[in-house]
Each structure stands twice: as C-alpha cells, then as structure tokens.
C-alpha cells in the first residue's frame, strides 16, 4: 500500500486516514440491466500489476472520495483527483 496519499484538498497524509474501495473503472449498470452485467460489475475484478485507478475515501480528513492512479507494484502515485468533481467535469 502506498503509505502517503497526496489528497488534493488536505495535502499529503498517511494512508491510515484513508479507506480504499478498489477499482474505479467499473461503471454501474442500468437498474434493469441483465443479471450477468450486475454479476460482472459487483463480483468480477482484474488484479493488475502496474498502473491502476482506485477509489480512495479520505475518511479521517476531508471525507471526499478520490480517484487515485497508483502502481500496484511500486506504490508510486501518478495522479489523484476528487471523484465527484471529476464526474461533474471539473478537476480536483
């Protein structure tokens, strides 16, 4: 695990302040999507070695959801954005 996360709102903080949810790539299916789509969305995950987009929640800081682009092998962090702002088209 990356031991320091540079939160766009709070600055660099230790990972103890965060909760990681996992892969940020899957897109939630429509409510009436077939069960196979939901099965894939809920249960099936790749386990890549290398660059990975992940959801991280700054639970003990600003309490914002972040998207962290991180190397799962070297723990290097390439980018970090506010998930809600990114969804609305803005940056961090």
């Amino acid at each position: 695990m990356a031991s320091l996360i540079p939160c766009p709102h709070c600055g660099t903080r230790p990972r103890e302040e965060f909760a990681v949810k996992g892969d940020a790539a899957p897109i939630r299916p429509e409510l009436d999507a077939p069960a196979s789509d939901w099965h894939e969305y809920l249960h099936l995950r790749d386990n890549p070695k290398g660059r990975h987009h992940e959801f991280w929640h700054h639970v003990s800081g600003c309490r914002r959801w972040l998207i962290v682009e991180r190397d799962t092998a070297s723990h290097e962090i390439y980018s970090i954005t506010d998930a809600a702002s990114a969804k609305q088209g803005g940056g961090a």
Binding site: G11, E17, S60, C62, R64
Partner: protein
C-alpha cells in the same frame, strides 16, 4: 423520584496536576476547554466569508478554520445559545449550512514548547506548513479529530465527545517524557 438531568462535562473527571517527568518546567500543558460553541459550516464559500458572517453576529471571539473541502469549524468558549445559532444560520443562509456540534464535540488545548512533538507522535500532518490559524481534520492515533493552531505553541483539538477522555489519556501518555501539566475545567 423526579428526574433531574444535569450536564456533566466530558472531561470533568480528569486528574489535574503534574504528570510524567517531574523536574523542570512542563513540556506541555493540557487544558479542558469550556464546552462552548462548536459549529460545522458546509457549503460553496470560503473561510473569509464564513469568518465575516461569524463576526457579524457578535462571535468575533470564535475561531473559524478549515475542516475539509468546503467545510469550516467555528468554535469558541461562549455558550451556544439558540439565539446565537439562529442568527449565525441566518447570516450564512443561501450559501452555507450550519450544523450545531456543541453537544457532540469537546475541545482540548495542548500548549507548551513540546506541544508539536506531542502532536507529531499521533498525527500525520506536516506541521512545518501548519501556520497559526490553520485547521485540519486528521487522526491522532486512531482517533479522528480536528486540529487548530491557535497560537505558535497552542493547539486546539476538537474530538467527538465520547472520545474526549481517550484522546486526553493519549496526549498525557505522549507528553510524559516532556512533563505534563494537566488542568481540569
């Protein structure tokens, strides 16, 4: 027997006096702050605007500090009367919501020449850039708290009421090697 609820401060039971290292001046002083006004403000605004609104309703003695993205903590020793809270909400209406936390959060003042050493034992914040007037939500050990730098060597830690005693005890333990002067309410 009629019920007669009475308010007992969360830190009413702490033991005052000198703890830890006994010789020399105490490295840190711990003080239970009055259970006064604690308000969380949330919205699309900035600290200056929230501060201006706070001053405009007669709360100039309150501190207003960052508490996360678009959130600010307003805190002071004065009682959180319904009238004051209503006028604060009014002054910020339209942009910022206020949430009265006076009943739910307790403030501890940590001061003295070794206060930053005691903080550094539990917090992951880079205090080199944490100037006077800065505030931030963070962890002390495993306890979520808000840290506010009130003066060069005075920090206010705001913690959920039920964790106040646990945080107090952790600060005492962390401060023992420097000598702690504990002051009850």
């Amino acid at each position: 027997m009629p019920e007669s609820p009475c308010h007992i401060p969360a830190l009413a039971g702490v033991r005052p006096g000198r703890l830890g290292k006994e010789d020399g001046a105490p490295g840190v002083t711990l003080r239970a702050l009055p259970e006064g006004l604690v308000v969380l403000a949330l919205g699309r605004s900035d600290r200056k605007a929230v501060l201006a609104a706070t001053v405009s309703v007669g709360l100039a003695k309150c501190s207003v500090s960052d508490a996360g993205f678009e959130q600010w903590l307003i805190a002071g020793d004065m009682p959180a009367s319904p009238v004051v809270l209503a006028s604060l909400a009014q002054a910020l209406a339209g942009k910022v919501y206020v949430s009265d936390q006076s009943h739910g959060r307790v403030r501890i003042a940590l001061s003295g020449p070794r206060s930053m050493n005691v903080l550094a034992k539990g917090c992951g914040i880079d205090f080199a850039s944490f100037t006077v007037g800065t505030g931030a939500m963070t962890l002390y050990g495993h306890l979520g708290c808000h840290v506010f730098r009130a003066e060069e060597t005075v920090f206010h830690l705001t913690v959920l009421r039920s964790f106040a005693l646990a945080l107090w005890d952790e600060l005492v333990e962390a401060g023992r090697e420097f000598g702690v002067e504990a002051r009850a309410l």
